[in-house]
């Protein structure tokens, strides 16, 4: 039973994470690449 609950929770978290990830990627500013992270620019905060 405990195993089943952990697995169901893992699946829900995984789906939630992916939905959030794609939402952020497509509709929010994102300037770094998943593979290499080269362009981590654009993240500077305006105020120090």
């Amino acid at each position: 039973m405990a195993q089943t609950i952990i697995v169901i929770l893992s699946i829900i978290i995984a789906i939630g994470y992916l939905l959030r990830h794609f939402w952020k990627m497509l509709f929010q500013k994102k300037s770094s690449c998943e593979g290499c992270g080269i362009a981590k620019g654009g993240e500077t905060k305006i105020q120090p």
Partner: protein, 651 residues
């Protein structure tokens, strides 16, 4: 006080900005790191000054979108952000080129501080600058030296800001200088030419350059390295060597990592209590993550070689010779830098196209950049090459597998050239861009820098891409382990009743039943649904599912295959992915991975736009969904047709 930061590209403006404001803006050793303006605060005692870092420009007259930001500012004094004073950052070792824009800003009567940045380089290159004479030529301007990247010069710059004279009237070339209209190119050219003549005279008086041994050595090497014929031959040889090394040297650490993951899965399977959680960990997550992590040595090697080429100064020569190659195909000279950076990732490449002035030429570059093979394709290429290409050596040292990897990268470049050539006729453009490139002297690579950069990139690869792969592995495992209602059990019973397993041994029988079970699962049903579309390319439904999941990121393809095959191989945790793929057979009983299907799949990945992050960044850069959707469609059609052709010819 509002202080603007101006200067040519790649003079270290962002480093000066970071030095003064304490911010951590991205800096890079290439032109165009800053393509938008950024603001920060500098507090000196009670006084607070806002500092705005503007994109680099060669002149007040814009040639690109980012330079236009500077033009728009300087042509309208009524703007709120029009500066009270400016810090003009120049590369001290390239004073002549930098002074054109400086004198224009000077003539606009903006109170100025001239920052001679990268001052250490002048000594290294044996350049002597007479600061007093320079000061005489620009009365009212304070001149300070700095090396912002290493944190030197902050106090001098702050003192200069405190002592700045806001009232002084100045003129170097034209009194009451009026910037020519943006479309009046003739006036702009005349002004630039005459201004340069005056700058040359000044430089003759203030600067003395003693050529170093390194400069002489670099000039001699360049005679061959940028030669119209030998240059390309050397580049091809360099690439061939790199890909040979990637294939030969990475195999030992790869096998080690592979072994660690398979043993880890087997060990975990034994120590965890049996059940669904055990199954998820050992047949879903560990194989999914391990399938991709195993390719880290190859990606690290590719980054290592790119870093060496960049550090030594050879990459600048490659950009130079590629510019010559790409011009006849309608690519802007400025397209070369984004395209070269596409080898690591298409996203910074698409962003780097902001330096291209003409939007049509920029669109072509954005459109073709994803054809260049990025590092995320390496796991896919490597897995398929190891699977279907025999390990044969020609002349004792040319490994066929390494050669195929080289050919896939070359195919991407050919696609870039051909698609640009076609687009040249579809999108017509009168304006021509140019590439202004300074060839640095050859240098010994700084090994610490290379090491740090590789570790950083690998860390990002593991933790950024890893999270997506982990989530997809969990979902795939669930979809592959369960089916609608009791369909899996019912299918198993039916198969046992209808099929005779008399000619199979126990292991083969188990495998056959596992395969039937997988086909009855959710993922099997989804895969079977799309199979008719991909079967002409030689792919089965498992490849089809992995193709779809790899839209998230290309390397997810390998992780997905690893999870699907691990679920199918229920019970056998100690088998490597490559062995599972090698023995896999389709519904007709034929091997799934043959030369024909493998090559077809590799070609598909060369051309297909399998990257949601790139689509998102294209949407952001073009401000509409039109271009990314056209790109997705066109690249998809090219990929499908080429893969179809490859499979049918080789089958």
């Amino acid at each position: 006080m509002k202080i603007a930061l101006f200067g040519n590209p790649n003079t270290g403006k962002s480093s000066v900005f970071n030095l003064l404001t304490g911010l951590r803006q991205q800096v890079g050793n290439f032109a165009g790191s800053t393509v938008d303006k950024r603001e920060g605060l500098l507090a000196i005692g009670k006084a607070k000054h806002s500092i705005t870092d503007f994109p680099g420009a060669y002149s007040v007259y814009p040639r690109s979108k980012d330079e236009k930001i500077v033009y728009d500012l300087l042509t309208n004094k009524n703007q709120e952000i029009y500066p009270d004073a400016a810090l003009f950052v120049v590369d001290a070792a390239n004073l002549e080129r930098n002074l054109l824009f400086f004198t224009q800003v000077y003539d606009l009567n903006i109170p100025l501080i001239l920052v001679l940045n990268m001052w250490d380089l002048t000594a290294k290159r044996k350049i002597e600058i007479d600061i007093e004479k320079l000061q005489e030529a620009f009365p009212g301007v304070q001149i300070v030296t700095s090396n912002a990247r290493l944190g030197f010069g902050k106090t001098r710059i702050i003192q200069a800001i405190q002592n700045i004279n806001l009232e002084a009237q100045r003129s170097f070339f034209i009194k009451e200088y009026l910037i020519a209209e943006i479309n009046d190119q003739e006036k702009q050219i005349t002004e630039t030419t005459l201004r340069y003549q005056k700058i040359k005279k000044l430089i003759f008086e203030v600067e003395k350059i003693n050529e170093t041994k390194t400069d002489v050595f670099s000039r001699k090497i360049d005679k061959i390295v940028v030669h119209p014929i030998w240059g390309y031959a050397i580049f091809i040889v360099v690439l061939l060597i790199i890909f040979q090394f990637i294939f030969s040297f990475a195999s030992i650490p790869m096998e080690l990592i592979d072994g660690i993951f398979t043993n880890f899965a087997a060990h975990t399977s034994q120590i965890l209590p049996t059940g669904v959680f055990n199954n998820l960990i050992c047949h879903g997550i560990i194989p999914g993550i391990g399938g991709v992590v195993v390719f880290i040595p190859q990606i690290a090697l590719l980054f290592f070689f790119i870093a060496i080429l960049e550090e030594t100064g050879y990459l600048a020569r490659v950009v130079f010779i590629m510019d010559r190659l790409m011009r006849p195909f309608g690519l802007n000279g400025k397209s070369v830098v984004p395209l070269m950076s596409s080898v690591a990732c298409a996203i910074p490449a698409v962003m780097a196209t902001r330096t291209i002035s003409n939007w049509k030429e920029r669109m072509i570059t954005i459109f073709v950049a994803p054809f260049m093979s990025c590092s995320a394709r390496i796991p896919v290429y490597t897995l398929l090459i190891s699977l279907v290409i025999p390990k044969i050596y020609y002349f004792g040292f040319i490994n066929l597998q390494g050669f195929v990897l080289f050919s896939l990268y070359s195919l991407g470049l050919v696609a870039v050239l051909l698609v640009s050539f076609i687009m040249k006729f579809i999108i017509r453009s009168e304006e021509k861009g140019f590439l202004l490139l300074e060839l640095p002297s050859y240098k010994n690579p700084r090994w610490t820098n290379i090491g740090i950069s590789i570790i950083e990139k690998i860390k990002l690869f593991i933790f950024d891409a890893g999270k997506v792969i982990l989530a997809i592995s969990i979902i795939l495992w669930a979809l592959a382990s369960y089916g609608p209602g009791n369909s899996i059990e019912e299918t198993l019973v039916k198969t046992k009743e209808l099929k005779s397993f008399s000619d199979l041994n126990e292991v083969e029988k188990e495998r056959e039943l596992a395969s039937v079970k997988l086909e009855a699962s959710y993922i099997g049903r989804m895969g079977k649904f799309i199979e008719p579309v991909i079967s002409p390319l030689g792919y089965d439904w498992k490849i089809g599912i992995s193709l779809i999941t790899s839209f998230a990121a290309r390397e997810v393809f390998v992780g997905s295959l690893a999870t699907i095959y691990a679920v199918q191989d229920d019970g056998a945790t100690k088998t490597r992915l490559i062995d599972r793929l090698k023995r896999d057979r389709n519904s007709k009983g034929e091997k799934t991975y043959t030369i024909a299907s493998g090559v077809s799949l590799m070609i598909f990945y060369v051309f297909a736009m399998q990257c949601m992050s790139t689509l998102a960044v294209v949407k952001r850069e073009t401000n509409s969904w039109k271009w990314p959707l056209i790109q997705l469609l066109v690249m998809g059609i090219i990929a499908y047709l080429s893969a179809y052709l490859a499979f049918q010819l080789l089958h």
